[in-house]
């Protein structure tokens, strides 16, 4: 990985498709599976993760000259844990029922490999502006991945999107989709689909 500063647009777009955190790097699985049974929780989780990602990237980039190799994981962890606590309290204060619904998955953002890996790969080496764009791009990619899974699960499972009924009454509602097995099956199927699309692209 070179240290030259990449172009802003490239940095932002990187996180959305080419290096999508969920579909390409298979990071952040736990929240991906847990909160995607409806779009409201999925988007709240994506927003919270993006907040932590951007804030941590900014902080690490600001203090990157102070980082020492043997202490850097400690530093990353401390930063991430602080911002996760902040976002957890913000949710409990302003979106209480959603915070109850998301439960322990918000603090689990701390161990979301995505954030630590971005701090390591990008924020600790790049200036603030690049780190910011990388955070936003990865966050957007994460949100896109969560949305794709949540749309399928909520639509097929409940016939709703964002809680609003979309499919006609006659739709039986595939209960399994909003239950744990549905999460694994949907992610597996979508992963297969994205791999297949990429194969076709590189072949042609």
């Amino acid at each position: 990985m070179t240290d030259e500063t990449p172009r802003a647009g490239t940095v932002f777009w990187n996180g959305i498709l080419p290096e999508n955190p969920v579909y390409r790097s298979l990071l952040g699985m736990c929240p991906t599976l847990a909160v995607t049974n409806n779009l409201n929780s999925a988007m709240t989780m994506a927003a919270a993760t993006t907040f932590v990602l951007v804030a941590s990237n900014l902080m690490i980039s600001l203090i990157r000259s102070w980082l020492r190799p043997h202490l850097r994981i400690l530093v990353f962890t401390l930063t991430i844990a602080t911002f996760v606590t902040i976002v957890d309290k913000l949710l409990a204060a302003y979106m209480f029922s959603m915070s109850q619904q998301l439960g322990p998955y918000i603090p689990l953002i701390i161990v979301n490999c995505l954030i630590v890996s971005r701090c390591e790969a990008c924020a600790s080496r790049q200036p603030v502006s690049t780190a910011l764009l990388d955070g936003l791009g990865m966050g957007a990619g994460f949100a896109l991945a969560l949305a794709s899974i949540a749309t399928i699960r909520e639509l097929l499972g409940n016939g709703t999107l964002f809680g609003l009924t979309v499919l006609p009454e006659s739709w039986p509602g595939w209960g399994i989709m909003v239950l744990p097995p549905g999460a694994f099956l949907t992610l597996g199927a979508l992963l297969g689909l994205t791999n297949w699309i990429r194969e076709r692209r590189t072949a042609s």
Binding site: W66, L71, T82, T85, K89, A93, G175
Partner: protein, 210 residues
Amino acid sequence: MHNSLHYVSEARAVIFLAIFAGVALSMVEATLGPRIAENVRRQTYDRIPELVPGASSTSTQEISLQPDVGSVNAIYAACDESGTLTGWVLRGQEQGYSGPIVLLVGVDPQASRITGLFVLQQTETPGLGALITRDSFLEQFSGLPANTPIQMMKHATQPGQVQAVSGATISSVAVADAVNRTLSEFRNLLEKTDSRDHMFEQLPSQGEDV
């Protein structure tokens, strides 16, 4: 001397972050803490007017329990605006199909009739057991006597029986069990003089003696 200073400068990042964390988190706790506590409180108190008609959430207050009261987790004296006791709200818990079900039961001041029921927390199967939160299921409990056990039936034919959610017998029975157990324990508390006095002492003002 050089060595210890060296270590401090090595740990600059950690020290800075520790200070940052301390300051940021205490600020967060100071500003958001009260709001969060209020949210938690309102989760229960906002339900009081629905559960006991005529009660106001601001005049309701929690009664502290003697330890070891089994199924009854909390007791709230639901009072109307003038402070007169209009009913009681009890929080009870029972193990459902896939986890604990926590609910609030409203009863009249003599604990003779149920005035309302609300499910606070449940982790039942979405689309099946989770339907116990629906009004159409919970409304059946209003007006039922609080001194006889409620029977949960697949097909309710007689008064005093409640229609279970179809396909979710275990969850529905858990609700009935929670209600029955909570009510019978509460009625015991009301009947025993010392616990009764202990509860009534804590009321803001006393209407007529019940």
